[in-house]
């Protein structure tokens, strides 16, 4: 199979990740629960993974790296725990449902007021619209770093400067960019960065987290066992324990730790450069094919390794089905949990076929995908 659904999850992982998970499953106790060797192995692994994530994302406090099952959980913790009832929030049309649905729920149950900065017909964020929507009473801006549908990038440094000037919380969804794009929370002015381990970071599913700037207060989304302060009736106040009730996915985090080592050794820039080169090669191969419509501003140098397209008026699901059954190429059709972005692109009815590239894809795979698209378009 030619796997081009890496925006959903990276299927191919570095061998060191697989080895680390296997080793953890034969040696790891429960982190923060005891001082025997098994528990300490787990505690040490989790601690080291925090340090590596903090370093990768420019988070000044490793103890402010909180682990979750995925970025959706991280975003729920951030959105529900840091935005006050009745607050005003500005978000964007580029967002995934992992941002939108917690916000809609907060709108229903906590009376927050929501505004959406527009995306243009090719999915680029209208920064002036976003800046216009921010008001004196705005509590937070919640935005993605990279669209999961088109790969459009958001200039976080620009938004971070504005948020800092106005004293507004900036919560970022880095699900698509972590691992392939440099992120520095301090330089970019990010208050809470939410990430997942199983996409560009090439770690196991069931891993993710949030990095919190020092001084940002987040209420716990869940309470429970923490292994510490057991006689307290409330969740411990200190990060990361405040937001980590229950046993962590230690086995998964061991894999994430190895993945972070792999990324540091290889280099985020190197990984991003290769993935973008593959994405550009694919775009250039399909853009001129009669009947193919590609979405996104490809004149922008800064793009994620994602290409979304449609062929004639064909249902995107049928195109993806043909790619899978006839060519053994895995893509993602439909709505991609990005309803507002599809509305902006005008693809709500047709959906789109998303091709997304990873460090482990090759130029040969890209060329075969281009050939398949050409053959389908030619009938």
């Amino acid at each position: 199979m030619i796997y081009l659904d890496n925006a959903a999850t990276t299927l191919h992982k570095p061998q060191c990740v697989i080895d680390a998970v296997t080793k953890a499953m034969t040696s790891m106790g429960n982190a923060s629960r005891g001082a025997h060797s098994g528990a300490l192995t787990a505690s040490r692994t989790v601690y080291e993974t925090r340090c590596k994530a903090a370093k990768l994302f420019g988070c000044s406090r490793p103890d402010h790296v909180v682990f979750t099952c995925n970025s959706t959980e991280a975003l729920n913790i951030a959105i529900q725990g840091a935005i006050p009832s009745g607050g005003h929030v500005v978000t964007t049309d580029l967002e995934h449902n992992s941002v939108l649905r917690p916000l809609y729920r907060m709108q229903d149950e906590k009376g927050i007021r929501l505004d959406f900065a527009r995306a243009d017909a090719q999915g680029a964020l209208d920064y002036e619209d976003l800046e216009r929507l921010v008001r004196e009473e705005t509590s937070a801006v919640v935005c993605t770093h990279m669209s999961n549908l088109t790969g459009e990038m958001v200039d976080l440094a620009r938004i971070g400067r504005m948020a800092k000037e106005k004293g507004i919380l900036l919560i970022v969804d880095a699900s698509q960019s972590a691992g392939n794009t440099p992120i520095d929370m301090e330089q970019m002015g990010i208050d809470i960065l939410c990430f997942t381990g199983h996409k560009g970071l090439m770690g196991p599913q069931g891993t993710g987290g949030l990095c919190i700037r020092e001084g940002v207060e987040i209420r716990p989304l869940k309470e429970g066992g923490s292994g510490v302060q057991s006689y307290r009736t409330r969740q411990p106040e200190e990060y990361p324990t405040r937001l980590e009730a229950g046993t962590l996915n230690g086995h998964g985090l061991a894999g994430l730790s190895a993945a972070l080592d792999y990324i540091e050794k290889t280099g985020v820039e190197t990984i991003g450069k290769k993935e973008r080169s593959l994405s550009r090669r694919f775009y250039e191969g399909v853009a001129g094919i009669e009947g193919v419509r590609v979405y996104g501003h490809f004149e922008h140098a800064e793009r994620g390794p994602v290409v979304a397209l449609n062929i004639r008026d064909y249902d995107s699901s049928e195109v993806s089905d043909v790619l899978s059954v006839d060519y053994d190429i895995a893509t993602r059709p439909g709505a991609h949990c990005a309803p507002r972005m599809h509305r902006a692109l005008g693809t709500m009815d047709q959906g789109a076929v998303r091709f997304s590239f990873s460090w482990f894809n090759t130029e040969e795979e890209v060329d075969l995908a281009v050939k398949a698209v050409r053959e389908i378009a030619q009938g």
Partner: protein, 85 residues
């Protein structure tokens, strides 16, 4: 014409897939076409040949299988390419 059984989630779809295989009703997992997916069904469907549609409905009824709805749609690409499991 192609017939698609649509589901609220993948769990419903995979459960019916097992039932249909057990009952020897040919079918294939396919992405649910956007044109018939609507707001309430998931991205997975079961593609059924017209001559097996009644057998599929009988299996659904006999096993009280959960599904969203059955919809039909003309294929747009290579109409003769249908591959059923």
């Amino acid at each position: 014409m192609r017939y698609y059984i649509l589901f609220a989630n993948y769990e419903q779809g995979l459960a019916l897939r097992d039932i249909l295989l057990q009952d020897n009703v040919p079918n294939r997992i396919a992405p649910a076409p956007r044109a018939i997916q609507g707001d309430l069904s998931c991205g997975m469907s079961l593609l059924i040949e017209p001559e097996h549609l009644d057998a599929a409905k009988r299996s659904i009824e006999a096993h009280h299988a959960a599904y969203h709805r059955i919809a039909s749609l003309e294929g747009q690409i290579r109409p003769n390419r249908d591959q059923y499991c």
